[in-house]
């Protein structure tokens, strides 16, 4: 296998210049695949966390099941889901990709939500009940805000994980920035520029999203900064 042409430069800026539109499109696609996976993942994890918190006996089963999903190799998950959903149409491919991506977020999100809520000090919960909060008011106004640092930490890890995984969906013809990595590898002579662009932007995206979420978390929990709560 030839890794690169002998005389060609490792990185071809001209190619980047010619393909700015495609790079932008794939970046947006990357973000869309990630965003949908995280948002749907948060919704599903919230429902499952409520179940786990209300019926603590279900928690081991929920973590075992989502833990299993988390440990199956990504390629196998895509193949498995694809065999059920199909990859004939764009919609089918999108759904296949999202189901696989979402399944990777659940364990992290559920663990952090449950840990966060269980970490609310007993005295705080008791005081809230004693003051006369209804159960739902208490969860929404007291327990959830206090669990937020843990929840945000979970969302950050899940986002970074998903941004990395999205590249694999290139095998389904999606892939966001992963498209460039796959395309670069598939050429008869490997084209490093394309691979570097795919990898570098994917990493940059992950870092950017992580920092954004960190910032959002700090704005939402000003009280946690001084106390280290």
């Amino acid at each position: 296998m030839i890794l690169a042409q002998e005389n060609a430069p490792l990185f071809d800026w001209d190619w980047v210049g010619r393909n700015l539109d495609a790079i932008w499109e794939r970046t947006v696609e990357h973000l869309a695949l990630t965003g949908v996976a995280i948002v749907v993942g948060i919704m599903m994890a919230t429902v499952l966390s409520v179940v786990a918190l209300r019926r603590p006996r279900t928690y081991p089963a929920i973590t075992a099941a989502t833990g299993l999903l988390y440990t199956i190799p990504a390629l196998a998950v895509f193949a498995l889901v694809a065999s059920f959903v199909g990859i004939g149409t764009a919609t089918q491919r999108f759904i296949t990709a999202e189901i696989a991506l979402i399944s990777y977020t659940l364990l992290i999100l559920i663990r952090n939500i449950v840990t966060g809520i269980n970490g609310v000090p007993a005295g705080v919960r008791e005081a809230a009940m004693g003051m006369g909060y209804r159960e739902w008011e208490r969860v929404r106004q007291i327990e959830f805000p206090l669990a937020l640092p843990a929840v945000m930490a979970g969302i950050r890890i899940a986002s970074v994980t998903v941004i990395g995984l999205v590249t694999v969906t290139a095998l389904l013809g999606l892939g966001g920035l992963g498209f460039f990595i796959l395309d670069g590898l598939r050429r008869s002579i490997i084209f490093p520029t394309e691979i570097i662009v795919g990898v570098a932007l994917s990493v940059a995206l992950a870092a950017l999203i992580d920092i954004c979420l960190l910032g959002i978390g700090r704005v939402l929990t000003p009280w946690a900064r001084e106390s280290g709560f």
Binding site: G123, A127, W223
Partner: protein, 362 residues
């Protein structure tokens, strides 16, 4: 104001009841201390009043209403609640914490703001703390905020579960004193849980002593419990030094004070000798009108006008609202025969060991 009638609580899976057939009445404006060893059901009893725990049987009334008739959240908004862990909401500022119940009750913002300011003054918190978070406050300050939050909507009833248990003894002493003062002004109906009999004696207008399983052993004033414990359990629970604890309940003003060897500085020196002889002492206290200047030794007078002498300060000087226990302690510690009682410079009299002892033997 609060009535418990044959109240029992059996927790699921427990063989013995946590509280068995307890009847108790708390009058309007009084502070009843629920006290007893761990496992006596005092906290369970308290939590049944605001329905954090629901009784298995029996009836609980607050202000004539069965607590089971109203939704729990409405009942709780009308009852102040203070706990040992304080339980301030870490994500809310002190002002927001204090405003909790008014906000739940839907007060408008202007009224809430006024009320929070009022409460800060009431419990002695500085306005600079309004916008801070609970974690930035000391334990004592947090507990003051806890009390302010419980009082926010001016509930007639206050439930307190070892509220001063988590702070060091010095701060606890301050908080207890402040709370006594506050209670004398507000006259809330308070149920106060503690495992500390001294705290119960200090704060309670009545004390309910509970035994394991929620058995009420005695329910009476601190004075009567100390003077005549109902049974061996109560006697062992209130512990040693019953006499001293009783002294703590009485202010000096209740004791028989003597005029003591004092004389006005305008009097003649010979008059001083007469006063010393009468009292059998070799020193004399000097007064200017009703103000006590100090004392001089008989040998220093030597026929000179009293106004020219330099009186020395008394070693042991107390206010008439201090307790007799404090007076006894001061006299013993100060190696003095007597304590002088002075309120804001005004001479009230002298108190000797005999007069203090008289109070307990009565």
């Amino acid at each position: 104001m609060i009535r418990l009638e044959n109240v029992a609580k059996v927790f699921g899976g427990a063989s013995a009841p946590a509280v068995a057939n307890l009847s108790l009445e708390v009058d309007r404006g009084e502070l009843v201390a629920l006290v007893g060893p761990s496992g006596c059901g005092k906290t369970t009893t308290l939590k049944m009043i605001n329905r954090l725990i629901e009784p298995t049987s029996g009836r609980i009334e607050v202000d004539g209403r069965d607590v089971m008739t109203a939704p729990p959240h409405e009942l709780r908004r009308s009852i102040g609640y203070v706990i040992q862990q304080v339980g301030l909401f870490p994500h809310r500022t002190i002002a927001q914490n204090v405003a909790t119940v008014p906000r739940l009750l839907g007060w408008d913002e202007a009224r809430i703001k006024d009320r929070v300011g009022e409460l800060f003054e009431l419990v002695g918190l500085d306005d600079s703390m309004l916008e801070r978070y609970p974690s930035e406050l000391s334990g004592g300050q947090q507990q003051r905020v806890g009390v302010a939050r419980a009082l926010a909507a001016d509930p007639p009833v206050l439930l307190m579960d070892e509220p001063f248990g988590a702070v060091d003894p010095i701060v606890r002493g301050h908080l207890q004193g402040e709370f006594l003062e506050l209670q004398s002004r507000l006259e809330k109906t308070v149920v106060f849980v503690t495992h500390d009999i001294d705290e119960a004696i200090l704060l309670g207008s009545r004390i309910a002593i509970l035994n394991v399983g929620g058995l009420l052993e005695q329910h009476d004033t601190p004075e009567r419990i100390l003077a005549s414990p109902a049974n061996a359990f109560v006697e062992s629970f209130i512990g040693a030094e019953r006499g001293l604890k009783r002294l703590a309940l009485h202010p000096i003003s209740e004791a028989e004070m003597s005029r003591g060897p004092v004389i006005d500085i305008t009097a003649k020196p010979e008059e001083a000798s007469r006063v010393m002889d009468e009292n059998g002492v070799s020193w004399v206290g000097l007064l200017s009108g009703d103000r006590l200047l100090g004392w001089v030794d008989g040998s220093e007078i030597d026929g000179r006008p009293l106004a020219e002498l330099a009186p020395r300060e008394f070693l042991v000087s107390l206010r008439s609202d201090s307790s007799l226990r404090a007076a006894l302690d001061a006299v013993v510690t100060g190696h003095a025969r007597v304590a002088v009682v002075v309120d804001d410079g005004i001479y009230r009299g002298m108190l000797d060991l005999e007069a203090i002892a008289e109070e307990i033997t009565e």
